[in-house]
Symmetry: C2
Subunit: 540 residues, 2 copies
Amino acid sequence: MSTKDNQPKARLPRGFGDRSAADIRATERMLATIRSVYERYGFEPVETPLIEYTDALGKFLPDQDRPNEGVFSFQDEDAQEARSAEGASGKKGEWLSLRYDLTAPLARYVAENFEKLPKPYRSYRAGWVFRNEKPGPGRFRQFMQFDADTVGAASPAADAEMCMMAADTLEALGIPRGQYVIKVNSRKVLDGVMEAIGLGGDDNVGRRLTVLRAIDKYDRLGRVGVSELLGAGRTDDSGDFTKGAGLSLEQSTQLLSAFLPAPNVGPIERIPADIVGEDDAKIAFGTRSVGATVNDYLLDEWEVNTVSGSPTGAAGVAELREISNVLKAAGYGSNRVRIDGSVVRGLEYYTGAVFEAELTFEVKDDEGRPVRFGSVGGGGRYDGLVGRFMKDNVPATGFSIGASRLQAALAALNKGKAAPDAGPVVVLVMDRERVGEYQALVSRLRNDGVASEMYLGSSGMKAQMKYADRRNAPLVVIQGGDEKAKSVVQIKDMRLGKQLAEGITDNAEWREQRVAQEEVAEADLVAAVKRMLGRTERQR
Amino acid sequence: MSTKDNQPKARLPRGFGDRSAADIRATERMLATIRSVYERYGFEPVETPLIEYTDALGKFLPDQDRPNEGVFSFQDEDAQEARSAEGASGKKGEWLSLRYDLTAPLARYVAENFEKLPKPYRSYRAGWVFRNEKPGPGRFRQFMQFDADTVGAASPAADAEMCMMAADTLEALGIPRGQYVIKVNSRKVLDGVMEAIGLGGDDNVGRRLTVLRAIDKYDRLGRVGVSELLGAGRTDDSGDFTKGAGLSLEQSTQLLSAFLPAPNVGPIERIPADIVGEDDAKIAFGTRSVGATVNDYLLDEWEVNTVSGSPTGAAGVAELREISNVLKAAGYGSNRVRIDGSVVRGLEYYTGAVFEAELTFEVKDDEGRPVRFGSVGGGGRYDGLVGRFMKDNVPATGFSIGASRLQAALAALNKGKAAPDAGPVVVLVMDRERVGEYQALVSRLRNDGVASEMYLGSSGMKAQMKYADRRNAPLVVIQGGDEKAKSVVQIKDMRLGKQLAEGITDNAEWREQRVAQEEVAEADLVAAVKRMLGRTERQR
């Protein structure tokens, strides 16, 4: 034990948080709903540990130019590992890292167990991931993701399935159709446009990445901020300068017009409103026949104008068209899943389709202004990630939900709707010598399935009643010496008492005493408690 | 992407493991059962993050004499933290650690939120913890614990509640009464005995710890091994020498006879068999009146002989007696919760009662010999841990389940009982051009709640059937060109087909074709699938 003079502070590092009972219960409900949708889609759970070899995870985080930045890493001290590591001397061994996402570990898992898995392999998992980044408001260094992945399927139908599953999940969680959209794009289309403006070839790998990162920041920085990052660079509010991609004004304009909606006019707003939504598959538009969707319209435009002359871009459009066709056949209109050029996704490992799940309803920002809730998840195709470990590449696609962020969205939607969880029945300790007897009362209740407890502190009756109130106890059981002599107990209905006390000011105390408290035989305790709990339930 | 010449290996560091679908589902069921018992006891969930300041966790691990050994630690790179840390220079900041248990973080949480929590504060949580130790068979560096704690209750009734809750939890999980025992001891009794043999006082803190660690190893090393560790020291199989406590033979013998059962004769075996078990509360023994239990017998013996002359020891016995009385009142005989002198618990922070949940049924060890399954959890009173952060000490007691270990026990108990989980209905892709139509069939099934999927690979019919078999699919839906022309589908019952093929060798193929496959109208797909799934369920 430390001395009281030199004691540690009870505090958490920034970017980490504790979770309350209400948080945990709400998350459990949310995870159970997501699981049930994923199981209906034929996905099965598989989980990996939180620590992996650093080299197995690879370096695919956005905005991390220095090695190991963004990741919590440490050297293994397992002596046997150290001995087996080439060139290692002394006790320390290889580098280990906390996982920064659930995709890189899954790729390791699939590669390690490739022969024994069914292929295509559909799986899902929820788990904590870690980012060794600068924490900020709403920006945590530990957060939960819920991922689904299909490995071994090159078909765009696998990408379409991810989008449908994301849409079904949000609706199963109570987010109404029209208040979310699954946006889809393709890294190949993005590459195609970059080729078209002269950023093709191996020499431009770094620049292409800088461009993608710039577009990915559209939601946060807007059109002007992205333009700066495409050009010379941008100085943020804190004075930090980020070097830009160095595009010419013409290149930059071409890029922006291809992918980013004009100020305040998204792709949806640029076409007649009546073809958007549930019925868009039934409505003709322009040169398109009956059955065309907003997605078809956009893909036509891209094919003719945006990726013209780029084989990579054309391949991307063709894949998106296949995705669009599967979606139409399965009855998912572009009001649910929509092609959108502004979707990039920050992680480096994506190779084809990329997705983003966005909630479109408004919440208030820190300054009280209304803003779209925004992204709660995303994903895409990562055909190279499993192949890192293997002789051949293995096609794969996945979708990752930001569980904490989605939880916040559900809380915003359900604000004020959820009743606080009921606490246990509390048996007061009126006579310290008779602790065993009070415990016996509690045991009878528990054995019959009633959540209950004996007061375990050392305070008097008033503090015990306050405790019961704080615990949100529906009922309190009291047995003083007089009651013991008569073999009875008093059961006080805390909620009914509160309602009566609040509602009737005239002689409230007297009525409260009479109505909200019952004396019953000790032998009838369990039945009476159950009866009174039922009444409280009804009155809520 | 790395080049194929220089690719990372797909492997995990030693001491870490992946979890299969069956593992995850079994664990989820187990955790749900534990939660339901804990909620019935009035405990509510609270969770802390996996990372804490190293100084907030403290150093209480057993067998770790060097600072930070046993714990995964790294320096914070959060610049703001670094600036605020006294004397820090450069970018690196304070030390962070992965939690090694769930108790130290809870102590930090309670101290940080002391004013707003109800007191006593009952809470529970499940989570991963990490030990930076030498891994071995069944010895992991990441494992799951499920903890319950009551903070702010000095009463031994709080300790008794932990023991009852542990017993109820094991029974709720299907472990029959008589196949487990919750063993209870007190650090104060242990200290009392050490006082009695001349190991009292501040000068002997280190030696007392060495003695406790030696006794704690009884299960693994047996009487001889413990004797060596109490004396000069012990050389293990690998040749490593552990220095002993340096007790004289007389001291060592006195200790051993107080706490450890004589070879092959536990405390239970030393007294008449008929007072052990369900009815022990009703049976007189020796000088004891009717109502005495095995626990009372042991405590009498300890009071008179074992801790004679030590105030600390006498206080420990008095507390154990209170625990015993609450247990008796609540109807928990010493066949469920038993006082046992060999219980120590390895962690340093315990100050009073200590518990151990032991499963007594036998399993086979690595060499095929029958051994008791052993400990699946433990805990105790840690009155100093919350007080590390505060002006005053705060009494607290808790119980921690080793979730992975308990899971293994349940698997051993239920061996062969659990049917493998059913996979999804698989819709085959007979014609790649009609992927959208197959997807539409799947969507109809999913929308009606049937777990189902379209085959997403690129292989032919034979491989698709093999895939469905590997997925444990109950039904397969097939629609080739002929079926399409007639607007029908074939539904093949995979399980029934297997049963028929296995059971009837005579003309099996013909019968299998007829009985296990049905042709239904495309419009009737969902109803037919549900009917056939029901039949499969019944036949299992």
